[in-house]
Structure formats: structure tokens, C-alpha cells
Symmetry: C2
Subunit: 698 residues, 2 copies
């Protein structure tokens, strides 16, 4: 691309960004298809928008006024180019309207009607035309096939479901693939006593996608946290890169639909090891997102993170003060199960807390105060002041006579600045006033033991993810290697991996028995003899691998057997030194159509494959990524000298995983690479078998 | 035990049961330690109970009247033996008070004060005395160390936390180990628009435990569902037997604290395969309980099951009708991930539904209506009438203008009698009236997509568990075998298993080289040669196992190596035929100190052990139990001909697992038995190694 066209592209990008802000925070709106007939969408749209404080007009071929608002016959006649045009007209008229809107300088359009990509080929064609108009002109398009958006700060209710106009303004933003989920999350946020800065359903997302809105919200001063709902992710790598820029500025919590997804088929086992849901969750996590499992958790975690955020840190220590032992036990259990630290308080803190409480209460952390008494606020204060503690969770059932949550928590929050979250339950009439006081203090309150656990996990996960992101070195420039052409047999695959610093056992590729014999004499015994035919991808399954060959008799037996396997090159064998014992892993990398190069690590063997015990991350990887991937394996015990296995050299595994990521980045023509098994012991890691698959087009 | 003492014991049991009902649904109450001083517990107790409509009196050495209620100096002076005595006196006075209460014929006592087992030895001694009084007299004791109970139908608020007197009456019962959790769950039930039949916190549970209250509630006409919270379970087998009797009559939902539990150490690998949390969850599930993971899910599932219950069935088919596609996708995803069937509707139903909806909507199941229109009630009706469908879930955001939930769901519920649950979200002001209408119709309403999933899962789990329970044959009488004495080496262990119909490969136990040579000649080659020393429990780890021995040279090599292993019997070896290839499982049984005999099945190999992929059930097992255990293994694919493994004969696995359960029941002196590995292929199952461990006392 020339510098000139680069500059032009950058200018269009600036226009697109500005137009997205105009669309979602409009000062002027036109309703196309505005109607006086109350059964028409155009009438409902005018009605919903009637309280919009900015300029609202209709576009209608004949009417001059609808519901008291002026009407114009077309875009060209509008007195000014409106920020947002709402299209309440049938699908087949939308393309022309979009073109007209773009020509008049409208910022963005929102299409109410369905009948596009979700309905078949004809609709998809319309959608493609809309996309083309947007791409060329910088016009932005929300939808089609969505219930729209609500911007309460702007009093813009561009959504036509009753009740949504009552959603309060606040600092939580919602971005949902689905309009219905957008509203579900928004109602849940309202129920938690919080409000919205923006709530948008993307629908078919022909133009405006989650990455666009995320980028915009990163700069939005009214947004303190973002709740994100995803179904499929067509442009995963773009979303990943966007999120890595957004999450350091605003916490993002996400819910990903499709966990029942079975995963796609791929040539290698690596592909089968990871489903598309796992890929999405892994990529989001890697980009600093807190991933949760339900709309309720999504709303709750976003509301908590909108109040408070922990500074980036490798691990955080939580203090827990509870007025009741039983719920306290559930909370500690939940935190520990999620891997959140609840360490013992410092001796000085324990002494101070002990002085405030009856003997026999448990004070080391959690602090179980028994029924809250007058010393409760000071207990919270001492725990918050403990240098070992990064954040404090407090649980107490509603007892207005003995516990005023604001009086108990605010002093500690104000004096230490550490995040504090209150968990409680009680009759609403008793609770509501107390919780409103707390919210005014900046302390989030959640209603159940498990929601307090969720709050702690969300604060910790967010902080740890940012700590990791901040440590990632810049990705640097990519050395694109010389383009490789196929086919890749095992020997050539290992040779390529060798150039990336990945070791494999000493070996000779031999044609004919004499060559095999010579190789056998040169190599360290015992050896493995394997078929080396390009047309046999799964060597073991055809009986083409002979382990532990120690003498000439064994060698001849192996060569005889291999010679009987049907292949075009029956006399080609690989003679290889037997590797020392160790733990077997499978390490691979695939080029995902959405997320780009991903690295997968799993434990070797068919059980690992059957239980899909694997971890996946997007390349390029940092050392920490691989460490975390290994920690996340259910069978990770095997790496640390389990039973009579050797302890694994984790640095060697890291080196291999990083190299495979780099290989896929530097060689776009490779679609998959797999080392299966990678044998690891205290001495290092050896690729015992390797497979490189080139993309079909190369 | 003589017939006479049996009769006496049964009479005491009857008294205990009657006294428990008197305690928890009293007609008369005495507060011991009643006080005019408002700072005293005895004053708070009188105050909380002041609205009790039955007879309320105080017991005080001097006062004649407190807060307007008559007082008596001691139990003996009471005009009648009250049903419940609330003891608001220090711990050290409670034992005498309990004895006096029992002597006066009081039904039960509830001790407010702490200072018992939870505080150390002196408190534990007091507790033991209380237990002894209860055991001898039939007096019942709630607590100590609990916040008490609430029986709203009886207007009895024997709990002294503000707000609990406002908890409404209803048909959900709560039984919690912890007083604080009891109140947490009760508040959550209230929040869902439901009410309580009884809510009790057991505290130290010296006398009244969960099994007692469960048994009582099974007969309680006001209770429709029971929410159970457990921490530790000291008398697991009693609870298990009770639950098997209770769950067919009333649905029970349970939350078990302690999932971060690490599990106990045991001699065999079997013991390490299952933690105590897993054991509890498995036992409850087997007894027909729906186990959930949070207080919110506990309250929600109990409220749903209190409305409706599916008839016992092997699997249930759910229909889903949704007004919004996005939430519908989350719901189907959740149901499928939980293993709940959402099958395609019958062609006739599809046709009927299609006629009511715009083209292009998805109607096969889920039925996505798009925005609800006038046809919505008929769509629900058609889905409910489909013969393939057992229950219907309906989701729709609150849109009072277009969707009246009661009008949409009630006709289908009334005409088909099938369970129907409504899921929704919206502004409370719009929702509350609509949901109250629905509740009056007997249709539960839940607020979020995931709560609708939970409702479906709870209905299905409950129904399937009852189907399984109903099919279990009576356990019959136990044949106690001749008492076995140790030690058990591999050969003797296999011999014992053989008497239970468990096969193992042909073998000879040999002392000396000549015997081994003779065995080698008689057995089918190749053979395995193993050390057979009672003082070597882990043969492989000392290098005492030689596989694939095919000739005399190999045999001698194996014998030489084994002879060098330090043991008191170096010349004892087991020569055994090599088993054919297959999948390796570990099948064992342990005698749990709480739950009694449990059977464990896991996949073999160290990875399976490292990832703890196992299933556990209490013996005796039914065939269905073993089938479900195998289905629950994460690596279950390995059983069905995965890669180049043979398909496993599941009937053979069932036979082995059932036999191990029977073995532990018939031989109380055995503490553990383990087959590791059990090799299984299409032909059957062979125990390749076996270990029998006797209890230390035998």
C-alpha cells in the first residue's frame, strides 16, 4: 500500500470512529419510515424517541409532521445531516436509504427490520451491499436484526421494547451480540442498583462489531466497566488486539455462548484437543478479560468492577470478615476452589483483631466475629490495614440494630483505598437503605455468599490478567521466513523444528536395507525404526513403528515388517535413537480461521485426548503464558515427578511452545504443526514425532 | 437384642419422633432464663416469641411475670409439660435444665448459648451429657450453637435475628447445618416470591440432625420441597438411607460445603481417587437428591420443585419456546451442556407451530417466536401437547403490551398437566404483577436465562433420580461371609475375587525356580513374572514385574532380578498368563467411616489418577448405578473403541463393580479392595492385579 493510500485509509478510519460516536451518542435523529399508524414500526420508533432531548425529525414521502415532529421527504431535504438515522422500512429499501444517508453525511444508521443475512441468500446479498456502502463511505450501521441500543446519559432510547426507557443511567456498558441478551443484561444491572452508560445489541453486526464499540468505550468517561456477550467471533484476532488495548483502561467481563459446542475437525490431534468455545475463552482471558458463565454473573461482576479495580499484581491476598460462620465457610471454600488466596493475617493484625472479639472466635482469616458487635468496624479496619491484604470481603446478614454496613466499611475503604465488597442478605425493606448508603460510599454490595466469592474472583482475575499483560514484551517485527512447500514427512518436520531450536533424538532417514544397517551402527542403541512414507500419516496405526530395537535381528525383523506395509516408498525408514524415559506431552500450533495462530499444550496419550485436557493461547506467547497453560492442565501433577515419573524441565517446554507460535507467525503457509509426543524429563524436551501441515493453497 | 428390648427401643423411637414434632411445631413454649433486662438473651427470646399464638411462659427463680407472660420458678412448677423449652441460660446450667425438662415431659429444648463442642474439651463434655439425656429420655435438643428455627405456619419465631419474623409462610422447608446459612437461604426463598414451611439451623447437632428433620418433613403436609445445606456428614449411611425414603415423597435439593477439600489419604490409590466432597455429592445424588453449587441455586431449585415435579422417567424431553433468540441460545446451550434433552418436536407439532409464526423463524425446538405476538399462547400449547415433550420452558422479556405470561402459559399447564416454567427479565414494576398471577396458576417464574436452565436441570435430575431409585431392587439380606484374616497377597486376593465371579488370568504361585519353570511350561505363553512377597505392596515400583516373558532365558532373567529385591521371601513369584490387550480401569471399594461401603471406578494409568477422573457410589450397587458411573467419567470415550482400543464389555465391568460392593457388605472386616488394573476388552474383564486390605482391628 502506498503512503498516500495508507493516509487515505487512516482518514477513513478516523471518520468511521467519529461516525460511530455520532451513531451511539447522537445529537440529532431522523426516523425513516416515520408513521402516524400506531401499528407500524415507524410509529413505535417515533414514540420511543419522543423524549429524546436533541433534534428528532421524520423522513416520509408525503407527511409534513408526525407525532408533533417535522417530516421531510428524503435525506437530501433534511436541514442538517443527522447523527443517526433509524430505518423503520422493509429490508429491500434499506440499501438505497443507506446510500442516500451516506451521501447526506449522516453519521450512522440503525436498521430495525430483519430479512437480511439471517434469512438466506437474498438477504445476505442485501447485507453485503450495506457492508460495501459502509466500507466505502465511513457510514456506520448498527444491525440489522437487533433490538437496538440505549444511551441513558444521552436520553436516547433507540430500542423498542417497553420498560427500557426506565433503565437508569450509570457507569456500566453492555455490548451484546444479541438484542435480547443486551436487554437481559441491562435489566440485571438495574436490579443490582447500578445503571448503564450504554447498552447495545449488535445483531448481524454487518458493520459495527464488538471491537468497534469496545474501542469507543475505552475513551468514554461515563463508562467504568464493560459487560460483553459473544456468540460466534468471526474476526477473533482483531477482537483480541482491541481487547489488549481496552482492558488496561476499562475492566471487561464477558459471557461466551456455545459451551456445548463439540469442536471442529482438524487433520492433527491438536485440532481436536480444543473446541471453538475453549479458543474464545482462552483468547479473551489472554487479552485481560474476566470470563464468566451466566448473564447474572456477567452483570454482577461488571457492577463490582465498575466500583473498584485492584492494581495489576501477580497474585492478590483477600481478607474475609464474616458475621456468620456458615456463610463464611461457603465463601472461603468458593475463593479457594477458584484459586484465590485467603492467607493468614499478620501476627500484629491477629492480635489487634483478637482484642476486639470474644475468645474462641476464629480470627486468622477468615475473621469470624460471631454476631456483629460494636467492634465490627474496627475489625474490618484492622484487616484492611494489614500489609499482607490487598482487598477485603465482608459478609453479614442484615441486622440493622447491630450492623450499619456503611459505618462498618466506609472508614476502612476511605483510609486504605483497598477494594472492599460487602455481601449480605435480608428482607429488602431492611437492606435497601443500607445498601444505598454503601453505594454512595463507593463500596459495592452483593446479595449472597456466592456473589461475594464472584466479586473476589473478578477483582483478582482482572488484576492478575493486567499484571500479565503489562509484562508482555512488545511483539516486535515478524520475520517472515522463506515460503515452504510440501510435503513434510517426519524427518523434514523435525529438521524444520530443529532450526527453531527444538531438539529431537539422533536419526537417519534411510532408503534401503544397507543404509538402515549403516545408520543402526552409527547411532546410539537401542533405536526405533519407523516407516518414513509421505503417504502414511499415522505410523503407529499401520504397525509401522518398532521400538527398542537392540540388535541386527531386531532391525531386520522391523525392516521386514515395514516392507509389507502398502506405500509407494516401502524401503524408506527412519532409524532413530530411543529417547530416555519421561513425561509425554502434545504441543502443537494451529492457524485458526478467526483467532489466527494458536498454540495448544496437552498431556500425551489417548486418555488426555479423550478427556481433552489441554490449554490454548494465541501466539505470540510470553514465557508466563506457557507457565499458566501448564498450571491450567488438570493433570499437571504429572509434570512434577508424579509416582515414578521424572520431574519435567518446564523451561524446555516453554521454549518449544514459544517456538511453535513463532513458526506459525513467520510462516503463514503453515496451517498446523504438532509434536506428539514431546518427551520431557529433568534434562530437557525431545520431539519424538512431528507433523507439519501446509495450508491447502500453498 | 431381645424382642422386649427391641419393642422398648421402637417405643423410644416413637417418642423421639413425636417430641421432634413438638419441638419444631410447638403449641406451648417456656423460655428458661426469661428476663426483664432487654440486654439479656432471655429478654430477646421472650420478645421474639411474644407474637406466638400458643401458650408462652417464662421460667425464672423469682419473677412472677415478664413482658406480660406468667413465670414459674422451675420446670416442676409448670402447669403443663410444654412442647418446647428455649434455654437462654449459660452453657454450664443447660445440663441440669435438660434433665429437669425431660423429667417434666417437655418435648424438646433449644439452646441459644454457645460454649459447647465448638469451644474445646469442657464444652464437649457438657455436650456429651446432653446427648446422653436425649438418648435415654427421648427429649429432643436443637443445637447448641445455632440461631434456631422459624415455623411460619405456626407463627413460631424461635430465632433471634431481626427481620426473620417477616419471613412469609409457604411450602419450602430449609434444613441447614449452619444457622447463618439457614437464614441466608430463607431470605433468598422469600426474594423469589415463595415462603417457608420450616427453616431450621442445626448448629452442633448434638441430637437433632438433618436425617431426623428430613424424616419429619416427609410427612409434613405444608412442605412441598426441602432445601438442605450440609457441612460435614458424620452419619452418612443413616442420612443416605433416610434420603432414599424421603426423596420419593418430597424433592430434596442440597448444597454441600467443602468442595476445596483435598481428600483423605488411604492405603490404595482408590482412596486417593475420591475426596470427601465427591463422596457426599455422589451419595446424595444416589439417594435421589438434586445437588447444586450455591445458596442461590439451592433456593431457586427448591422453589421450582415445590411448584411442580416431573414423574420418574429415564430421560425427559424439554420443549423451549423463546421470544428472543439470544437468550434462547444461552438456554439451549446450558441445557445441552448439562445433558438435558431438547429434541426436535414431532412433525405434526412443527407444522402447527409453523402456521402461527412468520416464515424463517426457527420452530423445531427451541421455538423462536421472534417478538411475542398473539399466537404465543397457542405456540406454548402446541409444544406442551407434543407427545415427545415432558416439560416446557418458556422465555420472554417483560413486554406487558404483547405478552401476558399467565394467559400464555396457564392454558397449556392446565390442559396438559406437564410442568411449565417461565423465565423472564424486566423492570420490577412491570414484572411483579405478572409473576404473581403466574404463581397463583401454579407456574413458577424465574428471572434470568440461566435460572430457566437450572429449573430444567432440577426437574430432569429429580425425575431421573426417582426413576433410578424406583428400579433398585430391595437390598435383600446380607450374607455375612466367614471372617477373613490377613495377610492378603496378590494371589490370595485374586482367589477371593474369583469366588465373587471376578476373573483373572491363569496363574501359579511358585516358591523356588523349579516351581516357576514348571508353571511356565504349563501356562499359555507369553507370561508375566511378578514378585509375590507380602512385604512388597507396590510391585512395579521396586522393579518386581516382568512382562511378556516368552522363553526360558527371559524367565531366568526375571527370576534373577526378582531374587535381588530385598524381601523376606525372595524366591516367591507369581507366574501369570499375559492378558490380551484392552482398556485399563481401576475398580475398587472402600469402607468410608461415614458413608460405609463405597465403590469407585476410574480409568487406569497415572494420568487418570492425576486428573482424579473417577466415579463413586455407595454399595450395594444396581446395574444402572455402574452404567451411570461409567457415563460420568470424563474419559468415557475410551470405553467405546477410541482410536485403536477395543470396545469395552460394559456388562463385565458392571459385574465386577457389583461384586466388589457385595464383598465389602458381606465382609465387614475388609476395609479396602482394589483391582488395578482391570483390563477390559470386547471379551470381558480380567483383574490383572488385586489388593485386599483388612481393617487394622481384624
Amino acid at each position: 500500500m502506498s503512503n498516500l493510500s495508507l493516509a487515505a485509509a487512516s482518514a477513513v478510519d478516523d471518520i468511521r470512529r467519529a461516525n460511530l460516536r455520532r451513531l451511539l451518542a447522537p445529537k440529532s435523529i431522523a426516523v425513516v419510515g416515520a408513521s402516524a399508524d400506531p401499528s407500524k414500526a415507524g410509529s413505535q420508533a417515533m414514540k420511543s424517541l419522543s423524549t429524546f432531548p436533541g433534534c428528532l425529525v421524520g423522513v416520509h414521502p408525503r407527511e409534513k409532521e408526525i407525532q408533533g415532529f417535522p417530516c421531510y421527504p428524503d435525506f437530501a431535504s433534511l436541514p442538517e445531516p443527522v447523527d443517526l438515522a433509524v430505518l423503520a422500512i422493509p429490508a429491500q429499501h434499506c440499501v438505497k436509504a443507506a446510500a442516500d444517508a451516506a451521501a447526506r453525511g449522516v453519521g450512522g444508521i440503525f436498521i430495525i427490520s430483519g430479512g437480511f443475512g439471517e434469512t438466506g441468500e437474498a438477504g445476505a446479498a442485501l447485507q453485503a451491499q450495506l457492508a460495501e456502502i459502509c466500507r466505502k463511505t465511513g457510514l456506520r450501521l448498527l444491525g440489522p436484526n437487533t433490538s437496538g441500543f440505549i444511551n441513558p446519559h444521552n436520553a436516547c432510547v433507540a430500542s423498542f421494547v417497553p420498560g427500557v426507557d426506565k433503565l437508569p443511567k450509570g457507569n456500566v456498558a453492555v455490548i451484546a451480540q444479541s438484542g435480547g441478551v443486551n436487554l437481559s443484561i441491562s435489566f440485571l444491572v438495574e436490579r443490582l442498583g447500578a445503571g448503564l452508560s450504554l447498552a447495545v445489541g449488535l445483531g448481524n453486526a454487518v458493520d459495527v462489531g464488538s471491537a468497534d464499540v469496545l474501542e469507543m468505550l475505552a475513551d468514554d468517561p461515563t463508562t467504568a466497566a464493560i459487560a460483553l456477550h459473544l456468540e460466534g467471533v468471526p474476526n477473533g484476532r482483531e477482537l483480541f488486539d482491541t481487547l489488549k488495548r481496552v482492558t488496561p483502561r476499562k475492566p471487561v467481563v464477558a459471557l461466551v455462548a456455545g459451551k456445548a459446542d463439540i469442536g471442529e475437525f482438524a487433520v492433527s490431534h491438536t485440532g481436536n484437543l480444543m473446541g471453538s468455545h475453549q479458543r474464545t475463552v482462552s483468547a479473551l482471558t489472554q487479552a485481560g478479560v474476566v470470563v464468566v458463565g451466566s448473564t447474572e454473573d456477567l452483570a454482577q461482576a461488571a457492577v463490582v468492577l465498575a466500583h473498584q479495580r485492584l492494581a495489576p499484581k501477580e497474585r492478590n491476598a483477600f481478607g474475609l470478615v464474616t458475621g456468620q460462620a456458615g456463610p463464611g465457610l461457603l465463601i472461603v471454600d468458593g475463593l479457594k476452589s477458584a484459586g484465590v488466596d485467603v492467607p493468614e493475617l499478620s501476627p500484629a493484625s491477629i492480635e489487634k483483631v483478637q482484642a476486639l472479639l470474644p475468645p474462641m472466635t476464629f480470627v486468622k482469616n477468615p475473621v469470624d466475629t460471631g454476631r456483629p458487635g460494636p467492634g465490627f468496624p474496627l475489625v474490618v479496619q484492622h484487616v484492611a490495614e494489614d500489609e499482607r491484604i490487598d482487598a477485603v470481603l465482608v459478609f453479614g446478614l442484615s441486622e440493622p440494630a447491630v450492623l450499619d454496613p456503611s459505618a462498618a466499611l466506609k472508614p476502612a475503604f476511605v483510609s486504605t483505598g483497598k477494594p472492599i465488597v460487602f455481601g449480605t442478605l435480608g428482607m429488602a425493606e431492611d437492606l435497601v437503605p443500607a445498601l444505598e448508603d454503601l453505594r454512595r460510599d463507593g463500596v459495592p454490595a452483593v446479595q449472597s455468599p456466592e456473589r461475594l466469592v464472584l466479586s473476589g474472583v473478578a477483582l483478582d482475575t482482572d488484576s492478575r490478567a493486567q499484571w500479565r499483560l503489562a509484562r508482555l514484551s512488545g511483539e516486535g517485527t515478524v520475520n517472515v521466513g522463506q515460503q515452504l512447500v510440501g510435503p513434510f514427512n517426519e524427518d523434514r518436520s523435525k529438521e524444520l523444528l530443529g532450526t527453531y531450536g527444538i531438539d529431537s533424538p539422533g536419526r537417519r532417514l534411510c532408503v534401503g536395507r544397507a543404509a538402515a544397517l549403516e545408520a543402526f551402527q552409527q547411532l546410539r542403541k537401542p533405536v526405533v525404526v519407523k516407516i518414513a512414507a509421505d503417504d502414511v500419516p499415522h505410523k503407529t496405526e499401520v504397525g509401522g513403528v518398532f521400538l527398542d530395537v537392540r540388535d541386527l535381528a531386531g532391525l531386520n525383523e522391523a525392516l521386514d515388517s515395514i516392507a509389507r506395509i502398502p506405500t509407494s516408498t516401502p524401503d524408506r525408514v527412519l532409524v532413530e535413537e530411543m529417547a530416555p524415559l519421561g513425561v509425554e506431552l502434545i504441543v502443537g500450533a494451529v492457524r485458526d480461521s478467526s483467532w489466527g495462530p494458536c498454540v495448544v499444550i496437552g498431556l500425551g496419550g489417548i486418555l488426555a485426548e479423550a478427556v481433552a485436557d489441554s490449554a490454548v493461547r494465541l501466539a505470540p506467547l510470553a514465557e508466563e503464558d506457557v507457565s499458566e497453560m501448564l498450571e491450567s492442565l488438570r493433570g499437571k501433577k504429572l509434570l512434577d515427578g508424579f509416582r515414578n515419573l521424572p520431574r519435567c524441565d518446564r523451561a524446555a517446554i516453554r521454549k518449544v511452545a514459544l517456538a511453535l507460535g513463532r513458526l506459525l507467525i513467520e510462516h503463514p503457509e503453515i496451517s498446523e504443526v504438532e509434536i506428539n509426543p514431546l518427551r520431557v524429563n529433568t534434562e530437557g524436551a525431545l520431539a519424538l514425532d512431528a507433523l507439519v501441515v501446509l495450508a491447502p493453497s500453498t
